[in-house]
């Protein structure tokens, strides 16, 4: 039983990372109907920003709350800046082009970041110093760590904050208006360019935060291709939960994290992806819009 609970905790910790990355996919898709494949690579850049800032602050030998906060905010700001730049330089000029061109551009952007990252940062693995000491926390038979709790806490806080922002603020209302109909929103006086830019900035800032948390999760080990795999899983999580839905992303992320953990615990680890994708297919067969998504038939 204690092993079961420990595995559940492992799964939730892994799942909250998928959920946090999935939020970014879901946001951009909600507003632009674009699957931003470069999203998880923006996460990688966020992790590198964290690496440079934390190393610069000498946080490794001297961890503190202040250096942790600075690193965290720097990663979010760096990723947000990159997100805005990508939107302005690549996606905006293509906005009136076909959906397919935009999708291909997103894939190209993803490859550019991955392999450009190998050129700029070097292909070798780096280690993000621990900005907060990763103490073990023992609760009876349950072994947790400070990092695991931070991962869960930050994911939940960011998700709730995002939900509040989208549903309760004026800008959030404008965002929802753009997501329903860009042209109608423009007629109502919404600055759509600004709103779309803001969506990318927030989505990318979440990716930046995820970058540092992913680094926490894998003991600081980062490399330019670190986004490929979690990105794929997070994308599946977003679709599984219902792409466009904030709670769906969280639910999908947690489900996949827990499923993967239990598969790896009780079956050969090579079954892990098979099971993940089987779950996705099964859910989509029963609920084509995902668990919490709303199915909207296209009106002609």
């Amino acid at each position: 039983m204690s092993t079961f609970i420990q595995q559940l905790a492992n799964g939730v910790s892994l799942g909250s990372i998928y959920a946090l990355i999935a939020l970014g996919y879901t946001m951009v898709f909600g507003v632009l109907k674009l699957i931003n494949f470069a999203h998880s690579d923006v996460m990688m850049v966020g992790a590198y920003v964290a690496f440079f800032v934390a190393t610069g602050l000498n946080a490794g030998p001297d961890p503190s709350i202040a250096s942790a906060l600075i690193t965290f905010l720097a990663a979010m700001a760096g990723a947000a800046a990159l997100g805005i730049a990508i939107e302005r330089l690549v996606y905006r000029p293509l906005r009136s082009a076909s959906r397919l061109s935009l999708l291909i551009a997103a894939m190209g952007m993803s490859l550019l970041l991955e392999y450009g990252g190998q050129v700029v940062f070097g292909p070798q693995h780096r280690r993000v110093p621990d900005v907060i000491t990763d103490e073990r926390i023992v609760l009876g038979d349950l072994n947790l760590t400070v990092h695991k709790l931070i991962i869960l806490g930050v994911s939940v806080v960011l998700m709730l904050g995002l939900h509040f922002f989208v549903n309760k603020t004026r800008t959030g209302t404008a965002m929802r208006a753009v997501s329903q109909n860009v042209d109608a929103a423009k007629l109502m006086g919404v600055n759509t360019d600004f709103i779309i830019g803001l969506t990318f900035a927030i989505g990318s800032a979440l990716a930046g935060a995820a970058g540092l948390l992913v680094a926490f999760h894998q003991q600081g080990d980062i490399d330019p291709l670190m986004g490929v795999y979690p990105g794929l899983k997070a994308f599946v999580a977003a679709v599984l939960g219902g792409i466009g839905s904030i709670y769906g992303a969280m639910l999908g992320g947690l489900l996949i994290g827990v499923a993967e953990t239990f598969v790896a615990a009780y079956l050969p680890s090579s079954f892990r992806d098979t099971i993940t994708f089987s779950i996705l297919i099964l859910v989509l067969l029963v609920r084509p819009a995902g668990l919490l998504g709303k199915f909207k038939p296209e009106k002609v």
Binding site: P123, H125, R136, N143, H217, Q219, L232, P268
Partner: protein, 402 residues
Amino acid sequence: MLNRCRFPIVLAFSALFASFACKKSNPAPDAPRTPPARDGVGAPPARPVAGGDIVIGEFGSMTGATATFGEMTHRGIELAIEEVNAAGGVLGRKVRVLLEDDQSETPQAVSAVKKLIHQDKVVAVLGEVASKRSIAAAPIAQRAKVPMVSPSSTNPELTEKGDYIFRVCFIDPFQGTVMAKFARNTLKFDKIAVLRDVKNDYSVGLANFFTEQFKALGGTVTLDKSYSEGDKDFNAQLTAIKATAPQGIFVPGYYTDVAIVAQQAKKLGLSVPLLGGDGWDSEKLWEIGGESLEGSYFSNHYSKDDQSPRVQKFVTAFKTKYQKPPDGLAAMGYDAAKVLVDAMTRAGATDGKKVRDALAKTTKYAGVTGDITINEKRDAVKPAVVLKVTKGQFQYVETIQP
């Protein structure tokens, strides 16, 4: 999944780029094509030799997940070739090493060897460390009848690829036995869990040989779990392993993965020693894993603390050149290059067939990593050492004879 479909794209681009690069560089005035040198009348056309030097190809993981493997091996080879050239070269000619980086990726290893053999026309190939990449590249050398010497690929399958494929290290059936004997007889362990990398020929082979031997010695394997190279989350497997209360865990992976495994094990309150093989041998192991590896053990090709004069002479020369001590892979690179040069000297020629025959006859070559004798399977038969990880150092524990 995405990753898979990306490789062909990247390969296509690099091929395109390479073909442009060739077209540009061939007519360049500073690189005149020397006419192929002929070793004898009636002999098959010898490989053209640039500038009269003997050109040996090397492929290694200079970057990527196992970057220190490639880097240290290359330094060993570089040192060996420098010494050879300082002593007048081979057959009156200088030796030059052409290095190709395979980025720790199997497809790149294959294209690196293709390039070395078909484009650069090297007379022999040195490499790789990772068995998976050596095994993938070996058939190319075999088909072209270019001798290939792997410094430290220990999976038995490698030299089964053909009679031009050699290695100067021991093989995993022996290495697995070493660790099993050590765990059972020296550490007196009864119960051990295994955590293997299923995507890695080396890891799977070593895990199997270890399990077989450990059971034969009366021990129990409590649980056999797996992961895939590059995984970052081992919590699920380690939690399952913890529930079976083993006295140690055998993790025959590469250092980047092992270091993370060690840390996550400690965080889960699983404080038993880890055991492993020569894939652990990297200064990065401690750099990433730190304290959580304290008191773990692994088998290796040699120990830099070995006081025999030939080891100490090598360690001193290496330290002078690179300002850091050589690890096992550097020593293997050094020996591989020296054994190859020795074979060329004995063959009196550089053509593939003659060098191959000479390599096959290598007997009691006094290498840094022990006396090297190539057996009928083209493997070296040598003792192994067990090292203990302590305070960032790899401390010599014992030598186990074949």
